[in-house]
């Protein structure tokens, strides 16, 4: 290394050097997000494997009836919205949820931008909007889960082999072993994938609140920079990104 002969060059081992021109914290957040990508991919890849190894529904979409014998059509499963009981509104609610999360991502990046200008009031304002968006999303998800677990009015008649006898009974809603909408694996993946994502949103909201609190108490202003907003922002955008993939692979296709 020629660096040893030059007195003005910073020693690379004593800090102050930023590899890839990103600060330590930001780089570590990127590496964490890559590992989290693998975790979410594992869930989505497993979903793809099980879906392709299960029988698909053949026939007209309009004639679709839920049965454990074949994989359901998502738009026939997720067709309810709050306060409009019995209305067939396919994917509308999940569309609203997607919009809320994308919008909270926008307010987050606006908070980061305000942090660059050292505009404390604007950072506080946008962090509050982001927290509100995240909390609203969690509320929507709680409703969606409740609806999925409780089930529809009529349920689905299922024929099962129990202790050597064929037993016919009606299944309402879904849990980890029974599912009125399709094969039990479909409900399992719904709970695991949206649940894992929801956990990320929850921890994101908590982190966002922490950032808001520390902005409001002036910690970042005293520190001289709002880099923590950027780091937590990266995490929050990642949560939004994962939802974009969940939305496509679980609800659309």
């Amino acid at each position: 290394m020629a660096a040893t002969a030059q007195p003005n060059v910073k020693n690379v081992w004593l800090g102050g050097v930023e590899p890839m021109k990103a600060s330590y914290g930001k780089l570590m957040m990127w590496f964490f997000l890559i590992s989290d990508t693998f975790t979410f991919s594992a869930l989505l890849v497993a979903y793809g494997l099980v879906r392709f190894s299960s029988p698909a529904y053949v026939g007209q979409v309009a004639d679709f009836v839920a049965s454990p014998a074949y994989w359901p059509i998502p738009e026939k499963v997720f067709d309810a919205i709050p306060f409009f009981h019995g209305l067939h509104a396919p994917l509308v609610f999940v569309g609203i949820m997607t919009f809320i999360l994308i919008f909270s991502s926008v307010t987050m990046v606006l908070a980061v931008e305000a942090g660059h200008r050292m505009d404390r009031a604007a950072v506080e304002k946008y962090m509050l909007w982001t927290i509100l968006g995240g909390a609203t999303f969690l509320g929507c998800q709680a409703w969606e889960w409740t609806h999925f677990i409780v089930g529809t009015d009529s349920g689905t008649v299922v024929k099962e082999l129990i202790n050597g006898d064929w037993v016919t009974h009606t299944v309402f809603g879904a849990n980890l072993t029974q599912n009125q909408y399709g094969p039990p694996a479909f409900a399992d993946f719904f709970f695991f994938i949206t649940g894992f994502h929801g956990t990320h949103v929850l921890s994101g909201v908590i982190l966002n609140f922490l950032v808001f609190y520390r902005t409001a108490t002036g910690l970042y202003e005293r520190r001289g920079h709002y880099e923590m907003v950027e780091k937590i922002g990266l995490y929050w955008h990642f949560v939004d990104l994962v939802w974009v993939f969940v939305f496509t692979f679980f609800y659309l296709v």
Binding site: S41, I73, F103, L110, E113, H225, G233, F245, T248
Partner: protein, 106 residues
Amino acid sequence: MAHVHEHEHDENAGAEQRKAIWRTFWILLAITALEFLIAFTLDAGVLKTAIFVGMTIVKAFYIVGEFMHLKHEVKSLIWSILIPCIFVVWLLIALMREGGSIFDLR
């Protein structure tokens, strides 16, 4: 972040950046709206799935590139993030094919 240390409270500071943020938002919203339109007008099939996957990648590009600022980072950082993701795509395709073959063998 040497370029951002402009401590004067100038109203115009970052105006360009804010414009880019809102532009990205409208693009993401338009793609999501288009996805809904396609979901209810096009028959299920390979084409529909391909369109959805394509649009998802475009959305991911805007979120990661603009919101997460990766587009404006140095090349080595961009590639250290993108290259590992190639393995994910490979695993997804491999295991979906595997799933199809499990279905055939059952």
